[in-house]
Symmetry: C2
Subunit: 556 residues, 2 copies
Amino acid sequence: MFGTMLDTPLLVSRILEHAAERHASSTVTGFVGDMQPRTTRFDVVAARAAATAHALADLGVGDGDVVAVLSGSRTEVVESLFAIPSMGAVVLAVNILRSRSFLLAALRDNDVSVLLVDPELMSVALEVVADLEHVRHLVVFDSHVPGHIVDHSGDDHDVEFHALEALLDGRPTTYPWPELDERTAAALAYTSGTTGLSKAVAFTHRSIWLHSMEMCMAESAALRSGDTVLTTVPMYHVLSWGLPYAAFMTGASLITARPRPGQAMHTGRDLAELLATFRPNKVATTPASLQRLLRRLETNPQPLGHLGEVLVGGSPVPEALFDAFVTRHGVTIMQAYGLTESSPIATFARADPHSSATHRRAQILGQGRFPAGVEARVVEAGRILPNDGWSVGELQIRGPWVTARYLGDEATDRFVDGWLRTGDMATISPRGYLDVVDRVDDIIASGGELISSVELEHAVLREERVADAAVIGVPDERWGNRPLVLVHLKPGATATARALWEALDGHVELWKRPDHWAFVDDIPRTSVGKYDKRAIRSLHADGAYRVTTISPGATS
Amino acid sequence: MFGTMLDTPLLVSRILEHAAERHASSTVTGFVGDMQPRTTRFDVVAARAAATAHALADLGVGDGDVVAVLSGSRTEVVESLFAIPSMGAVVLAVNILRSRSFLLAALRDNDVSVLLVDPELMSVALEVVADLEHVRHLVVFDSHVPGHIVDHSGDDHDVEFHALEALLDGRPTTYPWPELDERTAAALAYTSGTTGLSKAVAFTHRSIWLHSMEMCMAESAALRSGDTVLTTVPMYHVLSWGLPYAAFMTGASLITARPRPGQAMHTGRDLAELLATFRPNKVATTPASLQRLLRRLETNPQPLGHLGEVLVGGSPVPEALFDAFVTRHGVTIMQAYGLTESSPIATFARADPHSSATHRRAQILGQGRFPAGVEARVVEAGRILPNDGWSVGELQIRGPWVTARYLGDEATDRFVDGWLRTGDMATISPRGYLDVVDRVDDIIASGGELISSVELEHAVLREERVADAAVIGVPDERWGNRPLVLVHLKPGATATARALWEALDGHVELWKRPDHWAFVDDIPRTSVGKYDKRAIRSLHADGAYRVTTISPGATS
């Protein structure tokens, strides 16, 4: 027996119309050039999205076609995130920091014929497009196409160049958004590929709605009208964690701050300036960015009273970093856990008021609690482990905003009985709190015991002189594997491996402590700011690091 | 092109499992006897719900069967609200305050064969069951069936009597909840029938999920883990506004406080005691209950610092009542608007921080803003009016938790082009705020102008001596209709009609003011606590009121 309720599909176009009508004066701020802000009201975003859809339809974009966006965090990207899915096509915000071969594959695999491009990235676009016969239209986020580019046209194959503003000129500012099936693909996102080849998932209109509602729930990110949310997470990183859709759903103003051109991350100074300029009450960022901000604040303090809460994801937040913000700056850090495959946010670390103070601290220092809609379990060797807070296994999740498969990849081993294998080793507490111990590929199996590289990194980072630290496992004749730590000291600081090893007293058991230490000027990171441990392992294998080995028995 | 996300259906069973696992120690408190609280943890509710489902399956309850619950607000009702939909059947919490003929029709129309009954309501149940051949099982919320009732068995037809606790004894505490289509009917609710016959809607698993997520959004009721929510809205009034499902979704503890046996509403004293005992941080109630509480607090003040927010729905909150709570008691009132047909909550009155102070006050004094998911428009004579904040028309809404039809009633005029006609005259502001002017049937057409009976009621209630006031339109030779106000004075207070008429100076235009006044000891209300204007009109037609008519020109 079916109920009597309306079968209104959950569509991206409905979020847009809601925002345009009821939160017209909320704004999106993007950046052009060397950090020049550009602010657009939600109603203008909606009008421009409608005009964009008309323009794209004229360029031949039809149902299910993938339209790619190659851009930093401009407001036009947010317009595209609404226009393209709403008209029935699929948006792909390409990670501009990835390799040329990745870009080529992403555009080729999805038969992209229309590419929207940031003028600052024209040279990248032109280079890629030259190799892709199916690209027919290149639309630049500008009022005219530069002459030298028009000349380029016809060099390789028939690409037409358009200026977006010229295309939009005179277009209607409403569009008859189609009544799609809510399971229709709305947006593609590629995994970062830290553990292998990048794979794509296709978010649906439905999954975007449910994830957005979740981001607005009081127990989660609690986005609401009147919020000013600064995100340092670029649009091409899982659509900045889905923040544009959640912000439009509830009327939160959004500042999407990409790093300066040519940089992979914001500097601490840029972050501090963004905070001072926009005075956001919420920030979404990564531990790496937060670490830089903290160092900046040490030398250049500034008031942060406007900042209610910082949502941090991407990798676990070191306890030292967490405490520094809470105690020195009075800022609340809320961790979140997720993956591209989970839209991405799957947990939020708010403490359970029913728990003891000790438990509450553990809850907020971990990755947080799964909301209704995300089922989770930890599995070891095919056995489901109890949620007791200490049994470590691979985390597996499923739910309506978790992917069931990768695009065009039926033969993957990443799914078991409908559950997504996250590749993270974790525990789940009786109250449903997640604690990520390590990546499956990064955990160090030493003499039958497991050592978390993340735990060691966080412990080494407690030391005042250490700016950055990454741990990998290296082969060991006796134990199988033992930890090697790369240490990046703060400017002017000095320390011996032995001294840092001894500073772990009281924090890390003797048998877990890193035997091998290397002092470096730079630790490789991926395009999403995580330690690039594949690169570190490869560099180490090539003898790139000068390693000091501690013999625990010796005296310093 | 479909996306890759999991098609996990949104099911009531998933809310239950989430709550049992992650919010095990949150609680539901119901009441038995003369306000004796009974508290049950969420994990126990889940275990008992599973056992209940096993028991009901043994009694022959199958997919799509409607199981009725005839009870006050006991914790067993909440267990039923989860058990019955989760197993694939449909729960109907029958309004115990409605007429016998309504109860009979509701049970007959839905072919109810199993009835769950509060022991306090056994006599009502027995009386009804005697007339219903298809009722086969009567399950009483108790550990044994009283002897005199067992004897009753077989009098009329084959009804088996069971004690719930005996049925549950030894049952498994888990149940293989089926993977239903999320559009499956989960719960029935009847409209209050203020404007005609009661009609039923069938909420779906999907609509319950979406409505629950909405209730947890920061911009809406913001339910969250750690909340203690007291609801005075009985479970048989649109499932206490869907609060059990929302509470289980996020871990809020819930106190479901029905009035004392035989009473339609809580007394002010009972409400004050509930607040003092349970110290809730959120309350869900009606303006009528709030009015009673206010009067109680005038003579018996008590600290209300625990109370963060009061969610008020059912009818518009008089400005005087609103201000009294804010200024005298420091309690924030948040209005909500909805109907049985909209699950029920369709708006929440949180101010828009982008608005001016004047507008913000108007926003919170009105019925609030429509969230994403509820589309709304005002229509007059088939024309859609602009959302300008002053054009009055009938409010029409649609969305995924709004009904598309009534059960078994295809020929209704309550739907237009897929929109639900709410029967409320209202304005919508440019920012999407709703202001309900009056019921379509209650607004007073006077000389070509419309007078809101609600506006007059609120204005009369400003007067310190007035305890309660209701306005209807009565026929007038010259103007077509003119307002008649029933006034219930506070104990010991005296006032003339002329004095109250003059007290409207500065608040109500002369031409709108009530010509006709009647002082009464009691104003008829419906079973949901709204003024029963059909009854008032009928009583007035029968000459039940002594009416004084004011002649505006005369002196007092």
